[in-house]
Amino acid sequence: MEGLKLRSFRLRIALMSTTLAGVAIAGFSIASWFMLYQAKQKDFDAEINSQLLEQFNKLRPETLAKFNIKSLVPEFQHVSPSDIAVLVVDGNRDPIYQSDNWSGELNGEILWKKSDPQKNPDPVDFTLGNLPPDRPPIGPPPKVELDQITTKHTNTGDWRLGVGSAPMMGIAIAINLRAINPEMNKISSVFLFSVPGAMILVAIGAWVVSASALSPIEHLTTTIRRVTAQELDQRISVNNLDIEFQEMIQVFNQMMERLERSFKQASRFSADAAHELKTPLAILQGELERSLNQAPLGSELQQNLSNLLDEVRRLSVIVRKLLLLSLADAGKMRIHQAKVNLSEILIDSVEDIGILAPELHLEVNVAPNLCCAADSDLLLQVLRNLIDNAIKYNLPQGWIKIHAWLKKNAVAISISNSSQDIPPEHRKQIFNRFHRGDSARTRKIEGVGIGLSLSKEIARAHGGDLILDNTPSGYTSFTLTLPVGAQGLAPLQN
């Protein structure tokens, strides 16, 4: 879970929003539950007070003994009789009536007011108009003092206790707070269902919203993906983007600019260097060629000149390859396409292998007339390189297999040879520039290590690829694929 959370920004946003919303909803629910509870309690308090007053109105010291709780119960709606407790006392504050469920603990809580008419600050005025018509008062209305209603904790639960004192009598009404419970339970269950529901809605909403929030990033990703080495001049337009992303894109664009500049400098350097090297090489080569033919036939001088010419030639090949690579890097490797018969080229190459390495066992399986649109010079170079390697890195009395076949819209050529295993760390770097296998570094095997790198670039410039196959131990295999009609290039002629 932790890993998942860390990995998906979207999931994280959704989870965080859901959690926040959940906390808020839960807090709100708890607060409103308490407020509802309080409101309910106040309702009871008001009811208690009004009942107290009504009882004082009905009762006179003379009729106290006739008090019966049954007359009181119907007045409290939604409260069961067992939750209503009443205590009635006379002028001496001796109990006259006590309901069955009256808890003795409540007695200690009651402080009956002494009857003192003068000190009564706010005597309730019972005028005749307020009297219920059905039971006319027997004596004059008593002066009643109502205590603040308080919550009392007893072993039978919490009670809301209201106390009314008059000079000749006192009435205490207590309502057990569990009377609120049924209604509060109802509210609780509403919350219990609605809160998870709301959370699910929020989670879905957050998931959807985070997707739309992340959509500019997806757009950026696709744009940035287009920016490859070939298209370093690509910039992302900031016009249609949200303000929040604009700065990021500006920074990205600036970075691309710096990258493009240094990349161009680097590739121009190698192109310039290659070019600058070519003229002196041309002079060297031409003069050597001329001197060679002027030297006495078979003389030591002629042999030396011949060796020099070979070295100059080797230098030229390296310079040429470097230039090609720098072109490929700059995305400028343009190819002159024509229809090339790969089968013929391969058969010619097979003839060469027979001369170059007669001791190797050769297996050739080339479908006839495999053609593709390609630059034949460059393609020849790739095949040469692969065949050359297959010979160079072969085992004594080893073998070479050349297979070529048509697959879908591409021609595939695989050239494999018996060989020592390529160590995994070399496999990864095999297409890197100037990488050479250990055995090649000893200079027994010719080459500077740009052949495969260049071959891959050439294959890619044709819209194909060159890969090192995963093969079991004992042999090495490269597969070259070339689209039959290379993409984005002139259609096949002829």
């Binding site: 003229t279 080569q285 031409g286 033919n293 080797r314 030229s316 072109l327 400028k332 190819i335 002159h336």
Partner: protein, 229 residues
């Protein structure tokens, strides 16, 4: 054969001119594009060789101007610059061949012959040195009127050597002309191929017509003047 050669690099021009003159070509040389263009427009040449990077009017511009004016003179481009682009553009503009610097003068000569042959048709199809006759169109080789079967590589090699009898070719030069520039100069391809040609020709003629030059390479024929054309 009359050749116009436009090249600003004097040192390169000197050995190229010398090499072409040795072949018996009549070479006119100039070192800038304007001169080259006006000469190519005013005179008739068999071949025009243009270096792409020449001052004032570059080789491609000269080529473009010539083709626009309807001049179909064969053009060979030379360049040290961005090879692929130049080749592509040059071929699109109507160049007949293309050679990247550095190049062997012998290779340039071979290209000149090939281009002229292509343009002039069948006139120069037959190359004959001593008893050996070589038909470039039919790829047939005869020795004392007997046909000698050669593979295409063997034929090309023999033709290359026969074009300049007595001239020494290094293995690298031969390798590059027949197999392309990308082969390892230490291979024995050339030697094996020469051995095969010798064997086939000796079977008919009884004479070894390809001479080994120790530590250097090969040449066609020997110092005997009877081998000269």
């Amino acid at each position: 054969m009359h050749i116009l050669y436009v090249e600003d690099e004097v040192k390169i021009a000197s050995f190229v001119c010398a090499g072409l003159k040795e072949q018996g070509f009549l070479v006119e040389y100039c070192d800038n594009g304007d001169d080259g263009y006006s000469r190519a427009m005013d005179n008739i040449y068999d071949v025009v060789i243009l270096d792409i990077m020449v001052p004032r009017k570059d080789g491609l511009a000269i080529l473009k101007g010539l083709r626009r004016a309807g001049r179909n003179v064969p053009v060979i481009l030379l360049t040290a610059r961005n090879e692929l682009d130049d080749r592509l553009e040059g071929l699109n503009l109507g160049a007949d061949d293309y050679l990247a610097k550095p190049f062997f003068v012998e290779e340039l000569i071979a290209r000149i012959h090939a281009v002229v042959r292509r343009v002039s048709g069948e006139r120069q199809n037959i190359l004959s040195v001593g008893a050996i006759k070589l038909d470039r169109i039919t790829h047939k080789v005869t020795c004392h009127q007997q046909t000698v079967e050669l593979t295409s590589r063997e034929f090309n090699l023999l033709e290359y050597l026969m074009r300049s009898p007595g001239r020494v070719f290094t293995r690298t030069q031969i390798l590059e002309h027949i197999w392309g520039y990308d082969f390892n100069p230490n291979t024995n391809l050339v030697d094996v191929c020469i051995k095969r040609i010798r064997k086939k020709l000796e079977a008919v003629d009884g004479v070894n017509c390809i001479e080994s030059v120790r530590g250097v390479g090969y040449r066609f024929g020997n110092t005997d003047s009877s081998w000269k054309v």
